[in-house]
Structure formats: structure tokens, C-alpha cells
Symmetry: C2
Subunit: 177 residues, 2 copies
Amino acid sequence: MDAATRSAFVESWGSMGALWGISRSMARIHALLLATREPLGLEEISDELGISRGNGSMCLKELRHWGVIRRVHLTGERRDYYIAEDDIWSMLFRIASERKKREFDPALAALRKALDSTPKEEDLVRERLGELEEILRAVERVLQRFLKSEEASLGMLKFLSASVPYPGSGKEKKEQG
Amino acid sequence: MDAATRSAFVESWGSMGALWGISRSMARIHALLLATREPLGLEEISDELGISRGNGSMCLKELRHWGVIRRVHLTGERRDYYIAEDDIWSMLFRIASERKKREFDPALAALRKALDSTPKEEDLVRERLGELEEILRAVERVLQRFLKSEEASLGMLKFLSASVPYPGSGKEKKEQG
DNA sequence: CCTAACGTTCAGAATGTTCTGAACGTTAGA
DNA sequence: TCTAACGTTCAGAACATTCTGAACGTTAGG
């Protein structure tokens, strides 16, 4: 891979970090390690990306915490080196789980409480909050099924992308309790 | 609905704004309008939420732009009033479409380019980037199908939440070109 | 024991995002 | 025409996030 392409990949992946909610630097380091066969040390990484050692150190720590990179030791070398783990899916999965718990669940709970305490005569409000609750409940169910198991979810994703019989114009079935 | 509950709902919805990528104030205004039967004016909204008129004005404009609130005029009143539209789904749908286009698509394109220009002998890197590409391609297909039509997508969501035959342990089918 | 190479931490700097409020334009009514 | 009520805008303030780099702890080798 030529330098320009590698750089483009690193930067794009860095930008997309915002989509998962991880910082630019973290995402760039991850991308660099993904795109490099040899283990890299802190200094190399920081120099290559033009960031400070301190920042690099913190990002590497956090990436290890997410389980997406691994620290390795080369014989005869004192430094720590890092390589990307193979399970990229793991990171996406964990971040999704975390965000659901921290951002989605509390909002849904508050919505339900608001709906409960809305008096009968508030027709319009009940209808609106009810519609919203229905949507979010559906989202929640999908997420629950999807986030149940890290392995299964990847299979589901691939399955869904290929062949789910979405209801084109037929009516919906219900099989679930 | 009592004041405390309404307030809790408004604040939770505000926090969840981050999940869709809209600002706290915008989300809070939207929540307030959802939870109120009567149309509200700029001044009432700003006072209730403790934000400036300027900010309120801008948020209302943007919310109108997303099509999730509507400006109404009360006879004999000079002020503009606002009420929530019923299609909350619309906002979620449009934001999702926009973010896919702006954040997801470029990253996938860069990844594909990186993969193309990775020489054959870089086994490990090709494998890693290949896995990532496979995941993102699956995500893209799901998003494409899902974001095709605003109406259909809501039906899909509810369908998926209830009865999709995810591949428990069977093998995947392919029907798509 | 001393030194140099290295990793880590965190206070404060830099940057990015959101909000405020004063200035301005518009309109209805006097 | 003038005034007051209203909506809008945007420069800069306030705030939040991310990054830097100096200080520090640890360890290997001398």
C-alpha cells in the first residue's frame, strides 16, 4: 500500500470515528495499526500521525481496553509494540452496547413515565408520545436481539444484508411475546 | 402531565439528541412541543427552557427545516406559534440518511481504495481490511434497503422487531444480486 | 548506585461546539 | 410617519472536548 493511500485510509477512518463516538486520534491509530503488518511502537505511531506521545499513550491504552489492539514484546526490544486485533467487529459491537445503555435506555424510560402521567383528556399529547414510544420500543427490541451476542450479531448483520423478506406490501406477522 | 415529569422528559430527550447528532437545545424544544397540546411561542419556549431568544429562534428554524415542527398563526395574534408535527419518524429517518452520506460513505470508499492498493504479499493487512470491508458492505446494504423509503422503513423496523427469522444456527441464504 | 530509555499522567492549552444578546429588519397599528 | 412588538442574525462568550508536553515512576544496563 502506498503512503498516500494509507494516509487517506487513516484519515477517513479517523473522521468516521465520530460516527461511533470515539476520538479522532484513537480512530487514526487504530486505522494505522490495521494497515500495517509489522508491530509499531509508541514513538513511531506518534511521529507518523503527528500527535504527542502523551496522547498516543492514552489512546493506545483505551484501544487496548476496547480489546481491538494488542501489546506485543519483540525479543531483545525493550519497547512496547502494538498490533491490531482481528476482531474489528468487537469494537463496533461494544460501543453500540455502551451507547444504548447510556443514552437510549434513560430516554425511553423518561418517555414511558411521561406517557403514564399524561391524563386521558390530553388526546393529542398521548397520541404523539404513544407513537414515539412505539417507534422506540421497536428500536429497542431490534437492538436487544442484535446486541445479545457479539458473535451472533455479525451473522445477523450479514444475513439481513442479503435476504430478509421485508414486508413489501403484505401485512405484518406477530410471533413474539 | 405534571411539571416534574414533563421536565424529566424534556431533559432526557435533550440528552438523547447527541445520539442523533442534534444539539441539546433543539432536542429539548422538540420534546417540549411534543409534550404540549397548545401551540407555543418563541418567548414561552425560551423562558420555559431557560435559553436565549436567539438560540430558540435558530433551533425552531432548523426544526422546521427538518420538518418535525410546524409554524401556526392564531387568529388575532401577531406572534408565530409552533406545534410538533406527528411524524417523529421523519426526523430520525432524515438524520440517518444524512449521516450515512456524510460520514459512512467516504470512509467505505477510502477503505476500498486502500484494499485495492494493498499488494498481494501483504497477507495480514489484506485479511484485516477485507474483514472490515465485508462488515461495512453488509452495513451499507442494510442501510440502503432501509433508507430507500421513509414510509417503508418504519414498517420494516416494526417488522424486524417482531418476527424476523434470524439464522439461529442454520446457514445463510443468498437471493440478492 | 547512577543514568538513560521508556511509558504514564494530568494541568493547562488548543480546538470545536453551542449559546447569548445586542443590533437590525419588518410589520401592524396609531 | 412614528412606535413598539416581534423575528432573525451573527460576533464573540461560554462551554465541552481533545491534545500537548513537562514531570514523574520504573526498569535495564553499566
